[in-house]
């Protein structure tokens, strides 16, 4: 990251290797290669589409989470917020009335923004430690989700499946269907997310997020409305959660107040693997996306290793701890190495 004080004698290769981005891409390449070898028809369109569908939720959630972490927060309520949104979507929609789908979209988006605003008030304006305030709100979302949908279920309108598989929707022209078979909606959702962040990162808010996350007090002292920036980061996170909810409801055709729980921790871990510092202000949202891909590939590899289903939670928990510990240890090691060279 930092280019300061490198001794002139260093070879450029060493400079490259010491960059965290390099190691992230290297790990990604290794995981990609292993998966490509293990999965027999990895490069066929069908399995590529299937992989994108499997990876998209974590990618979207990770990008949202990365934004909040960059702004100096963390969102432990992301998973239950996702669950709540799926419950809202499936409660508003009525089967056979296509127009209710639009109401559902509007309602869910409003709820998503509200979620972001409440988290933002807690983190930004009231300056309660983010970890604990989002822990509290996560139970509000959980309870609200259970209120709407005590047991998994609900109904959706027909066209909502287009967020998962355009081919499953009747009455869509053939050329769009064949387009959807190659470019799945999940990929489009991820691209929308990327485009959204691309636009935001070019604005003042995008740069303020880094400033606030890096040092809240100096950002405040230089005249940035830190609370508003953090609130905006939370709302943007909500947009990503909203996109994920669209995908899930399109895929499962149902809402579930508890389905999102495991994604919270995996998204945080993915962001950390992607080089987002938990202390805030350092990292890159696109590399968080790569981090999500790395974790997804690791999951895939575990799947190919034929580990029984019962081990899934155990293994994913171990991966999260190992991933976080390794990235933090790596950053510390790099820092120390840099200090030594500068001496």
């Amino acid at each position: 990251m930092s280019k300061t004080g490198m001794a002139p004698g260093n070879s450029s290769l060493r400079k490259l290797v010491s960059k965290p981005e390099f190691s992230i891409l290297l790990i990604f390449a290794v995981m990609f290669a292993i998966t490509a070898v293990l999965q027999k028809n990895f490069f066929e369109i069908k399995s590529i589409v299937r992989n994108i569908n499997a990876f998209a939720p974590l990618i979207l959630m990770t990008m949202g989470q990365a934004l909040v972490i960059l702004a100096g927060g963390i969102d432990l309520s992301a998973g239950t917020a996702l669950s709540l949104l799926t419950c809202v979507l499936t409660t508003v929609m009525k089967k056979g009335e296509p127009v209710t789908g639009i109401y559902a979209l509007l309602a869910a988006f409003a709820v998503a923004v509200l979620i972001g605003v409440i988290n933002g008030i807690g983190i930004g304006y009231l300056r309660i430690p983010p970890v604990i305030v989002t822990f509290a709100t996560s139970y509000i979302w959980l309870g609200a989700g259970l209120f709407l949908r005590p047991t998994p279920g609900g109904e959706t309108v027909g066209w909502f499946a287009s967020f998962y598989n355009i081919g499953a929707v009747s009455g869509v022209p053939e050329f769009i269907k064949s387009f959807g078979a190659v470019i799945p909606p999940a990929l489009i959702l991820v691209l929308i997310g990327c485009a959204f962040w691309f636009v935001v990162s070019k604005t003042k808010t995008g740069r303020y997020i880094y400033a606030v996350g890096g040092n809240n007090d100096s950002a405040y002292a230089s005249g940035i409305n830190t609370a508003r920036v953090q609130m905006r980061a939370c709302i943007m996170n909500s947009v990503f959660i909203f996109l994920t909810a669209l995908f899930f409801v399109g895929q499962n055709q149902s809402g579930d107040a508890r389905m999102g729980d495991p994604l919270t921790l995996r998204a945080i871990a993915a962001a950390v693997v992607g080089g987002i510092a938990l202390s805030g202000g350092r990292g890159n949202v696109y590399f968080a996306l790569v981090g999500a891909l790395i974790l997804s590939f690791v999951n895939k590899i575990i799947f190919f290793a034929n580990i029984p289903n019962a081990y899934q939670t155990l293994v994913s928990g171990v991966i999260v701890i190992v991933a976080i510990a390794a990235s933090v240890a790596y950053t510390l090691y790099n820092k120390r190495a840099m200090l030594k060279e500068n001496r």
Partner: protein, 327 residues
């Protein structure tokens, strides 16, 4: 101005300032009981109050785990207590098999599980400086995974030893036995924390890390020990859980995690560390249990309970923790 300072120095004001949060907690509990009496008939009766306190005692014990970890500072919290307890309950059910003579082995297993979990939590958070909430959440996942693996394809067999049944589920006269246990634990905790070097070290590390370090306290070891204590205590509470329920099942402890943290906040313990009044935590636990009872009586069930807990925690965080005036 002068009178103001005089008032501030008076013994009554000092006592009020010190116990302000306890008074608030008591008032909140009374408020809930009155509200319950108005909306639901037979809410504020003596047996009902005793039952509430009995159910709250498990939350209060889990709250002790949280209180110690929180008091040690470093934004510590332990989300793995629920599954540590569940794991002990599930593993010891078969060992005890309904016999008293196997209880010792069960306790040894429980302590071993607690030390294992606590050591991992403590090493990762205090020596590797990883965020406690994320690490303990991941640890909860791992423990849940271990339980899933252990119970995959077979039922959990075995029953608690009769002694545990007596302690956790039965009553002497009208007073549930677990209240005696809670009273003993509470007294020990309060004495240890206020009268011994141990308590001084814990609060010292929590309130000012640098000062504690400069006075020769090993900050890392203290925080590490807090996590080990939390793990062992949570694991032992697992024995009470199975004693209370009579059987062990997969998710029996996970519902206590959120209330245990909320109880600490309701009890007025600062999340910044450096303080801890166990009486407050017990009151907080009673408040949360009363709230649960009220919401269940009103027919709002699980959903209402979680919304209620989340909202109460959120509001109290605003009141106690919010840092608006810092600027």
């Amino acid at each position: 101005m002068n009178t103001g300072i005089g008032l501030r120095n008076s013994a009554i004001y000092k006592a009020y300032d010190r116990y302000k949060k306890l008074v608030i907690a008591v008032l909140l509990i009374i408020f809930l009981f009155v509200l319950g009496q108005i909306t639901v008939s037979n809410f504020f009766t003596f047996p009902q109050v005793l039952l509430t306190i009995k159910l709250a005692s498990l939350i209060a014990l889990f709250g002790l785990c949280q209180m110690v970890v929180i008091a040690a500072g470093g934004s510590g919290l332990d989300l793995s207590v629920g599954y540590a307890a569940t794991m002990t309950a599930v593993f010891t059910a078969k060992i005890m098999d309904g016999k008293n003579e196997n209880l010792w082995l069960a306790i040894v297993v429980a302590v071993a599980i607690g030390i294992g979990v606590g050591t991992l939590n403590g090493v990762l958070t205090s020596f590797f400086k990883l965020p406690p909430l994320v690490i303990t959440l991941a640890m909860a996942n791992i423990l849940q995974g271990v339980i899933n693996v252990y119970t995959a394809g077979k039922n959990i067999t075995g029953r608690p030893s009769p002694v545990l049944r007596v302690i956790a589920a039965q009553s002497t006269g009208i007073c549930p036995n677990i209240l005696f246990l809670l009273a003993i634990v509470g007294a020990i905790v309060m004495i240890v924390l206020s009268k011994t070097k141990l308590g001084l070290m814990l609060f010292g590390v929590g309130s000012n890390e640098t000062a504690a370090y400069l006075s020769g306290v090993n900050v890392k070891i203290v925080r590490f020990t807090a996590f080990v204590f939390s793990g062992v205590l949570a694991s032992l509470i697992g024995l009470l859980l199975i004693g209370n329920m009579g059987i062990a099942f997969k998710d029996m402890g996970s519902n206590y995690v959120m209330p245990s943290i909320a109880a600490v906040v309701v009890g007025g313990v600062s999340l910044n560390g450096g303080e801890g009044n166990y009486l407050g935590v017990i009151l907080g636990a009673i408040f949360l249990q009363t709230l649960t009872n009220l919401l269940v009586a009103l027919g709002w069930g699980d959903a209402g309970k979680w919304v209620g807990f989340g909202t109460v925690l959120f509001i109290l965080l605003i009141v106690y923790v919010s840092n608006r005036r810092g600027r």
